[in-house]
């Protein structure tokens, strides 16, 4: 029912996957045994993940340029957690995207698809060149995830759908005695949608501890600060009162992210909600912490400025 602990521990602190993109298949080997080496590996792991995340941000801005614009804010705030999911936590086979035992990831805040596309390219699910076709005519890589793209689990974009879908996936694992874990990433303003709370109530009732919701808590929606739209506070209490185990983390601190992912499920018989405090637009100063960069145009000049800050060419 739950993801077996043996299996999960076996895929912690992998080295090879960090080096060679497109070889997640090997994740089940190379387990480190001693505490010493694990600590060593952890430092190495974090450094690699941080590098990967930097690349991810460069790649997502690259996509935004190709599209002439897009959702820089929510893509950037999610980047570190997406990296840790795809390059550390999730059991995946990029060469076999429909591998039945793969972990599932649903990007409920589908407008962050530039980041998802970037991580899927980096992980080897899709051709890197697709990033340059963001928003293009007949491209499978549009503003929102399309299930036809290898590695994408569901068409999202309309907010408030992903948690119910992920609940179905996690329940599907239970019914079929599969040990995969389902992750879903939600926007914070997205939590205004009541459909989330239907799913939250149900998933807790089902005791789906193979389900983890990550709230990208960047405090901003489309029109402004959430506190001024409809306040979510106290957010952790809401999840708790709906029966979820909650952990609040800094969604840009790779150590905290990895430690939390490695500790899943936080509690047997409960789904986990990770409330990740993040900065919208993280990584590019002019895009940080402002609703103006929820979605915006990106031309060559803006792209160049962003890339400079991201240590890119």
């Amino acid at each position: 029912m739950a993801v077996g602990n043996e299996v999960r521990s076996a895929c912690r602190y992998q080295a090879r996957i960090m080096i060679t993109i497109g070889h997640h298949d090997c994740r089940l080997s190379d387990d480190r045994e001693t505490g010493e080496r694990m600590n060593e590996a952890r430092d190495e792991l974090l450094k690699r993940l941080e590098n990967e995340a930097r690349l991810l941000r460069r790649n997502l801005w690259r996509a935004l340029r190709a599209g002439g614009g897009g959702h820089a804010g929510g893509s950037s705030s999610a980047a570190d957690m997406l990296t840790a999911l795809y390059f550390h936590r999730m059991r995946l086979k990029p060469s076999e995207p429909d591998w039945p035992d793969r972990d599932r990831f649903v990007l409920s805040k589908g407008h962050a698809n530039a980041a998802l596309g970037a991580v899927l390219a980096q992980a080897g699910f899709i051709d890197d060149a697709l990033l340059d076709r963001f928003y293009h005519f007949e491209s499978p890589f549009g503003m929102h995830p399309d299930i036809k793209v290898p590695g994408v689990e569901m068409c999202t974009g309309a907010l408030g759908h992903g948690l119910a879908i992920a609940t179905g996936m996690a329940y599907g694992a239970r019914i079929q005695n599969k040990s995969f874990h389902t992750f879903v990433m939600l926007g914070d303003a997205e939590l205004h949608e009541g459909s989330n709370w239907e799913a939250a109530m149900a998933a807790a009732h089902y005791r789906l501890d193979n389900l983890t919701a990550i709230v990208d808590h960047n405090k901003i929606g489309q029109s402004g600060r959430i506190e001024e739209l409809i306040s979510l506070d106290p957010l952790a209490d809401k999840w708790r009162s709906f029966g979820w185990e909650v952990r609040e983390i800094d969604g840009h601190d790779m150590g905290q992210i990895v430690d939390t992912f490695d500790a899943l499920p936080l509690k047997k018989t409960r789904p986990t909600a990770i409330v990740a405090h993040t900065v919208k637009g993280k990584g590019v100063s002019f895009a940080e912490d402002t609703y103006l960069w929820h979605s915006n145009s990106v031309d060559d000049e803006v792209h160049a400025r962003a890339l400079k800050e991201l240590g890119g060419a």
């Binding site: 119910a164 179905g168 996936m169 599907g172 089902y206």
Partner: protein, 323 residues
């Protein structure tokens, strides 16, 4: 009431002449044959008669509570893992309340989710406008990838539900409405998706009906026969994909077409037929359908009378086309 030898089938008895219960009975047969089938309830365990399923396969039953949107989202997620979810729900709520979930999570993502939508049309006459489902065909028909089925009686409901075993995509099964005094379809006749069944020959005029109106179309045809008018009757059990050939043939061979449905005029069976004919072969039509207003409260039979959902109305419509 003579329903022949087949009436002894246990599922038929348990269906008590209700298409929604026939759906639940068919699920029991599906449960035996298809281990991937999963049943979801939105606090509708009795409505569609699924308690036997729950007893047989508790691990393949999911109660979602009164949360129709959630039912569809969860069903979509289940389907992605290879399971075959059957959502048991009220038509007036599942179609409208979950419209966007059906569009995105099921139709757009093209997931194999079957929706058993009970209490459609004015089945719940006394329950008033919030509980009448008179626009659900317009809604469900508006989406690509959807299969939309309106069984005419318990027999067809049973076989249409079984037919979902072979439909690899989303299905909306509209249940409820008048229960015919005798079955209008043959138990042995099976159900062929997307193929209207011709229940009466006739080359004077054609009645295309679905669901509860098929019985009335047959009665109308019989009455017309007595007056020397041969009215063809097509049971258009599949609204989407529409049987274009049967309709075009009827338009070519008879003087006009009367559609009959327990749904408002806009966008339902009549609308689908009109859209096709206007482009392919303009043909005089009459539509027997519910008016563009919220229906009053009352016993369903009285509402049917009030709103002209009757064999007489079909007869009159046919005569106006051959007259």
């Amino acid at each position: 009431m003579n329903m022949g030898a087949s009436t002894t089938a246990p599922w038929r008895e348990a269906s008590a002449n209700q298409t929604r219960l026939a759906f639940g009975q068919a699920l029991l047969a599906i449960g035996e044959r298809e281990s991937r089938a999963v049943v979801l309830s939105a606090d509708t365990q009795d409505l569609l008669g699924i308690r036997p399923w729950i007893a047989n396969w508790p691990d393949r039953f999911i109660e979602v509570g009164i949360a129709e949107q959630n039912a569809i989202g969860i069903a979509s997620g289940l389907a992605t893992t290879g399971l075959h979810p059957y959502v048991c729900a009220y038509a007036p709520f599942i179609a409208a309340r979950s419209m966007e979930q059906i569009r995105n999570d099921v139709a757009y993502a093209n997931q194999r989710v079957v929706i058993g939508a009970a209490a459609s049309g004015i089945s719940l006459g006394v329950a008033g406008g919030t509980h009448h489902a008179l626009e659900d065909l317009a809604l469900m028909r508006s989406m690509p990838n959807m299969t939309v089925i309106v069984p005419a009686d318990v027999n067809e409901a049973y076989h249409a539900t079984l037919a979902t075993l072979d439909i690899d995509g989303p299905v909306y099964l509209r249940l409820g409405g008048r229960t015919p005094e005798a079955p209008v379809t043959e138990d042995s006749a099976g159900f062929t998706l997307g193929r209207a069944s011709r229940l009466r020959p006739g080359n004077d005029v054609t009645v295309i009906a679905c669901g509860a109106m098929v019985e009335l179309a047959l009665k109308a045809s019989d009455a017309l026969k007595a007056e020397g008018i041969d009215a063809r009757v097509l049971n258009m059990h599949t609204i989407k994909p529409l049987d274009r050939e049967a309709i075009l043939q009827a338009a070519a061979e008879t003087s006009g077409i009367v559609t009959a449905e327990e749904h408002r005029f806009a966008g339902g069976l009549g609308g689908a037929v009109a859209e096709l004919l206007a482009v392919e072969r303009p043909t005089p039509m009459r539509m027997v359908a519910m008016p563009d207003e919220f229906a009053v409260v009352g016993p369903t039979v009285r509402l049917r009378e009030k709103y002209g959902m009757s064999a007489e109305a079909i007869v009159a419509a046919c005569k106006s086309l051959v007259g």
